[in-house]
């Protein structure tokens, strides 16, 4: 996009590859569901049980949580905390960094253990990182993603319609 901020885009085949990996991970680890969240707070995809909460809000908070902890890490002289664990009474979550651009969030309950989640996450993070690296390289060399002609006009009309008389 204009202005120097780099955009990246997902294609059908990327999501299929990621989904296959996540399904395998869920089967092996017995976790309930996973969410992939980009570091800017946007939800990339989910797998497993359909979350019954607001995933958009969840993604923004998870990214903020991870970023805040990154800063804490650097203050104590660490490069990063590559993973975080939040323990609840019934539900817990484990967050792991993927290629410095994406966060894998794993939600699990007492059907599995933290140890199991940790071990299985390591493997899947390695494979996800490979996929994302390929995607980023592709985005970096490809011309910036542009929306088709007419998109901006239609979006502007919609903006006027939605916000016009408020």
């Amino acid at each position: 996009m204009a202005g120097g901020a780099s955009s990246w885009s997902f294609e059908e085949r990327d999501v299929q590859r990621i989904d296959r990996l996540l399904q395998g991970f869920l089967f092996d680890s017995n976790a309930r569901c996973t969410l992939l969240v980009d570091r800017t707070g946007q939800l990339v995809t989910t797998a497993g049980e359909k979350p019954d909460f607001d995933t958009t809000a969840f993604a923004s908070l998870a990214a903020a949580d991870f970023s805040a902890n990154d800063q804490l890490a650097s203050m104590i002289g660490e490069n990063e905390f590559s993973s975080l664990f939040h323990q609840g009474e019934k539900e817990s979550m484990y967050l792991a960094d993927v290629a410095r651009r994406v966060i894998l969030v794993v939600l699990f309950d007492n059907r599995t253990t933290l140890g199991m989640i940790r071990i299985k996450t390591k493997g899947v993070v390695r494979e996800l990182a490979e996929i994302f690296r390929e995607m980023f390289e592709r985005s970096a060399t490809a011309p910036a993603a542009r929306m088709e002609t007419g998109f901006a006009e239609e979006a502007e009309d919609e903006i006027d319609r939605l916000f016009g008389d408020l």
Partner: protein
């Protein structure tokens, strides 16, 4: 950094409301939340202190609906305005697609506005972004108060690049949607 997801046919754009403490950033989001149709917005998330000062950010997703088959959504964020929250402020700017600077028009807040604007330039520079090159609008808020700087004064101090500006009274909603419309159109333009 807008994210275009061709698989789920979604586009998400991040717009950040920036400005000094108590200038009315959260008020803007609250008014938007109140006024837009409930089916076009998500939950308003506020990470605030007990005295309702923004601690980390406020977050409000607004759906534009499907445009040419792409579900288009704006993620609106505010930053904490108080000077000592700079670490948090910087984090929120990550991946920003458009910025609204909310200035407090009161004479005694002019220096705070200027300081916050410098801080915005600095924080964006750390992400390799230049305010002159990304979608950016200014909102001069609190225009109903008695002791305010003239528009000319505010423009000369805060808007050397002559980006679009809007006068506002956030608590009454005046200018809130004009500002949002302007920045969201600029963000959309940058995508195409």
């Amino acid at each position: 950094m807008s994210m275009i997801n061709y698989a789920s046919r979604e586009i998400n754009c991040k717009i950040v409301y920036y400005g000094p403490g108590l200038c009315g950033k959260t008020t803007n989001l609250e008014y938007i939340y109140e006024k837009v149709a409930p089916n076009t917005r998500g939950k308003l998330i506020s990470l605030a202190t007990e005295t309702e000062r923004t601690l980390f950010f406020d977050f409000l997703p607004v759906d534009l609906g499907a445009i040419r088959g792409f579900k288009t959504r704006f993620h609106l964020y505010t930053v904490p305005g108080q000077v000592y929250y700079n670490a948090s402020r910087k984090l929120i700017l990550k991946g920003v697609d458009g910025v609204v600077f909310v200035a407090d028009s009161q004479v005694e807040r002019l220096d705070a506005n200027i300081e916050s604007m410098h801080n915005l330039y600095e924080n964006l520079a750390e992400y390799g972004l230049d305010l002159r090159e990304i979608p950016f609008v200014i909102q001069y808020n609190k225009r109903d108060l008695p002791n305010i700087s003239s528009l000319q004064e505010l423009e000369s101090q805060l808007n050397p690049n002559r980006v679009p500006y809007y006068e506002a009274v956030g608590v009454r909603g005046i200018g809130v949607f004009d500002t949002l419309k302007a920045v969201s159109k600029l963000v959309i333009k940058a995508l195409s």
